[in-house]
Symmetry: C2
Subunit: 330 residues, 2 copies
């Protein structure tokens, strides 16, 4: 048995969550429902304008790994924070959830602070993300421990990470080590604009190395440059062993060889959509690592996503295993 | 018209909120429902043991002032943070709520960081507080601007602040300036153990200077060393113009000269009791400053308290004025 079921690599972030109106987004040039990269000056200026906020650990893959850990999975995370108060908060929350997190912190004198994401939640529950990457942008290939990757049944790569300068090499190093030890590779496309920025690199990786691809509708149609979701799914499914294509309240499509499933979403009142995709992936991967079939994994993902969008913050608050039992999936 | 309706002085804190079981409290020597002062070593050790947390600005009087600001009141706060990430979070959240906050930050190289309170919320919604005062302990009398105090209709003093070394002198300076300009003085006793530590000093201040005293049952019986809540109320009412004695779900007693009111609590499901007393005081003081009668002020306080205990975190999330309208108090 390998030490880890899932090892995630991504941008380590603390989320700054505040409520905002659609007018506020428009006045401040914030694209609704997407992730925009911002620099420190913009982060400071925007923070000055938003209302009272709360701080919770975030980061897309980190949320996913927190979900795996919450479910009792054997899991670890790689992503860089600085040795500052937000960095300690990030590290604490991940470890307290039961994940292994050993990435060396950037020293306190580093010019770039721990990354943060100003998440503005509109009354409809949609989240618009403004990300100052900070020191997490500088995750170095040396931060990837090949021995850890070799001990992973799955490595889970966050598409956002491609925005960092050394990320391609870091991912390549992780993939080599994992595959060299018969591990599998999962990738999430993260965001349609992220796909725009890195389409060719994503494509190469998908074709060469990815076993399981997570993407939502907007990401997938961007990736395959088709406005037809079904056609984009077919194109992706031809390139990976398992395609998991989420479509918000319309549920999820899973394509794997001859198998083609559509699994409906779990209806919920949306309070804050932050983390829905992350938590879907965490539950799906945990299910897979536990040996469940694809339909059960998709149902677990939908249940976990419905929990996380029913409250503010991107990590589970209710007991997901209890919810799985209530829904009869375990 | 004075510039401020209420100026609060207290311990500036960021709350670290986590769920915990009663067993966890017992194993870690944490007194349930009370505030314990802890040093940095204990803060670090305890933080290592708690589960994933979220960070929100707190501090008793700061919560009260945030409540006054939320209601649209003219208000300011005095309390010390360090120039670090948590300090900036504290300052942002208070200003973003509409309060004036100008206290000079301790410089980043100060040995004591921004104060924090590890708040453990048990399944019954009760909160047990573990406070590392940090730099807020060192609020200096020079941090009290007499001109600001003279511009206050009410100054609101947090009993917890008596745990700081120079606090008596700082409070005396604030009281002199406020009273010298016909301002009034409100005091909250904060906590029964805080009363134990400072009974004589509190008593002197109450007799000499306090116009409005906020206390809950445990604090009042400790203050007047009587197990009879009614007797303690009578003793306190003989010493202040207005006594506001809260008693959790049993409502609140207001005694003012010949007037004696009992106003029932607003029934709510308790999620997190943190901030109930603070928000009661904020709404009560705002009502008073707006010229409402004591019964309406008490009803406002109860409505505001019921809102803040219905969710995690000590500051209002719903629109309190809208709730006041729903309840017919404005």
């Amino acid at each position: 048995m390998k030490r880890y079921q899932v090892v995630g690599i991504g941008n380590a972030m603390v989320d700054i969550l505040a409520q905002a109106s659609d007018e506020f987004l428009a006045e401040n040039g914030i694209g609704k429902g997407i992730m925009q990269l911002i620099d420190m000056d913009r982060a400071v200026a925007l923070y000055d304008r938003i209302g009272p906020a709360r701080e919770v650990s975030g980061g897309s893959a980190a949320n996913t790994i927190a979900g795996v850990a919450h479910l009792g999975g054997r899991t670890a995370y790689v992503g860089k924070v600085r040795e500052d108060q937000l960095g300690h908060i990030f590290a604490h929350d991940l470890r307290a959830q039961g994940a292994v997190y050993e990435t060396r912190m950037a020293p306190p004198e580093s010019p770039e602070e721990t990354g943060r994401c100003i998440v503005l939640v509109t009354p409809d529950g949609e989240r618009s993300m403004n990300t100052y990457l900070g020191c997490t942008e500088f995750l170095h290939p040396d931060d990837i421990d090949p021995a850890m990757m070799a001990e992973a049944e799955w490595i889970y790569l966050e598409g956002y990470r491609f925005d960092g300068p050394d990320s391609h090499e870091a991912f390549a190093r992780a993939i080599r080590a994992a595959k060299g030890a018969a591990g599998k590779v999962a990738l999430t496309l993260s965001d349609p604009f992220c796909v725009e920025r890195h389409r060719a690199a994503f494509r190469n990786m998908i074709v060469a190395d990815v076993d399981l691809l997570f993407a939502n509708r907007a990401e997938l149609v961007s990736m395959y440059e088709s406005n037809d979701f079904a056609a984009a799914r077919a194109a992706a499914a031809a390139e990976v062993s398992i395609l998991v294509a989420t479509d918000s309240e319309n549920g999820v499509h899973v394509l794997a060889g001859e198998e083609a499933l559509h699994v409906p979403a779990v209806p919920t009142r949306i309070v804050d959509a932050t983390g829905a995709g992350d938590m879907f992936a965490g539950a799906f991967l945990w299910g897979l690592a536990e040996g469940h079939g694809l339909e059960i994994c998709a149902r677990m993902g939908n249940i976990a996503a419905s929990e996380v969008i029913s409250h503010i913050g991107a990590r589970p608050e209710a007991d997901l295993r209890a919810l799985f039992r209530q829904h009869g999936v375990i």
